[in-house]
């Protein structure tokens, strides 16, 4: 995977998906402390879409995601829940449309089977870049389709070389 910018540079916002936290908890001796340490050492915060927060919170108690300490991570400050994406912003909505087409194509589904919520990663990244809250965005996900879709859509909408995707499984391997 080519890296157009250094993901650990201070001007980079990290956007994380549900799968990162699930993968973290599924490893032997769950790796949340390693993820927290990684965030603290590099002075970064994992920004998560609202729906990711709701998904993790709504998981059955006996499942891995049901045991994710997402609230304490949020209280400790290394996870932050994003504001709702600015859907009225034409750049954000174009990015979401493009992500939807990308996922539909790559998963061999009709576009009407892809929901707005599936484009949340791209929407949050577009909002951060368009509002100039971040110069660069790094998307961490275990959903390769969604990650690549976000990169393709943002690249097509004027943010080339300002977004990259990091495979959540690889990141966890690296930091643990």
């Amino acid at each position: 995977m080519s890296e157009p910018f250094d993901p650990l540079h201070e001007s980079v916002a990290w956007v994380a998906d549900t799968g990162l936290f699930v993968a973290c908890g599924r490893q032997q001796n769950n790796k949340y402390t390693a993820l927290e340490r990684f965030a603290n050492r590099n002075n970064l915060t994992f920004v998560i879409p609202q729906r990711v927060y709701e998904e993790l919170g709504g998981a059955p108690n006996r499942s891995t995601p049901g045991q994710t300490p997402i609230n304490s991570a949020r209280d400790a400050g290394w996870v932050q829940v994003a504001d709702e994406p600015d859907y009225a912003n034409s750049t954000v909505s174009r990015v979401m449309d493009d992500v939807r087409s990308y996922i539909a194509r790559s998963s061999k589904r009709n576009e009407d089977q892809i929901e707005k919520a599936d484009t949340a990663l791209g929407a949050v990244a577009a909002t951060l870049l368009d509002s100039r809250d971040a110069r660069f965005v790094c998307v961490v996900t275990t959903d390769i389709d969604a990650g690549e879709g976000a990169v393709a859509a943002l690249t097509a909408n004027g943010f080339e070389d300002r977004i990259q995707v990091i495979d959540g499984f690889e990141l966890l391997d690296k930091i643990t």
Binding site: V22, R26, E55, S107, K108, E115, T142, A146
Partner: protein, 197 residues
């Protein structure tokens, strides 16, 4: 219905094979043992005990059961007996609803006692759901389906569905090289839910 490659054409063996596979799917301990032998090719009792950390008496008794079921053979020509697995596959077709069971599904069942997500899935939704989840894990692992699309179509709580996909990702990665019938497993990428019924 086609049971165990060797048994093609023989009705008695076909039904015996069906019952053997059903028993593996019902008993995770036997399932785990069977797929271990399949992955290893040839294995001795000592290696089984060391790998699975199980009591010797249990290992002997379970291996005896697998031999009786016809899914494992024992080579007694050497002083140290070795076991090898008979690759099994079963295609069920019930009024057009078709599914091919292969060693990959058996491995998923075998892992369930050690995996809280697979265990919860089996307990709450049953074996059918696990089999369905596997059809999504296959395109998910090879990059042919978005995790979110798979999770939604599985119709489980989202984050839980992702945990199940992650659990099956490990199963698929371990079994693809070992399961000779892997390509026969249904692939959900080819079956859009709206196209059904």
């Amino acid at each position: 219905m086609n049971c165990m490659s060797k048994a093609a054409g023989d009705p008695e063996q076909a039904i015996n094979g069906l019952m053997s596979i059903a028993q593996l799917l019902e008993e995770p301990r036997l399932a785990r043992l069977y797929t271990l032998v399949l992955r290893e090719g040839e294995i001795t009792i000592d290696d089984i005990i060391a790998t699975l950390d199980m009591p010797r008496t249990t290992a002997y008794s379970d291996m005896g059961t697998l031999v009786d079921l016809g899914v494992v053979t024992r080579d007694e020509s050497q002083k140290t007996h070795t076991y090898s697995a008979v690759p099994i596959t079963l295609t069920a077709d019930l009024d057009g609803d078709e599914y091919t069971v292969t060693p990959t599904l058996i491995e998923a069942v075998g892992r369930s006692p050690q995996d809280q997500d697979l265990d919860l899935l089996l307990e709450k939704y049953g074996l059918g759901k696990l089999a369905a989840a596997l059809t999504y894990a296959i395109p998910y692992v090879d990059g042919g389906m978005s995790e979110r699309v798979a999770a939604r179509e599985l119709d489980l709580q989202y984050a839980f569905a992702i945990a199940v996909l992650h659990a099956l990702r490990d199963v698929v990665q371990d079994m693809e090289p070992a399961d000779p019938y892997f390509d026969d497993i249904r692939n959900a990428r080819e079956q859009s839910p709206s196209a059904e019924d």
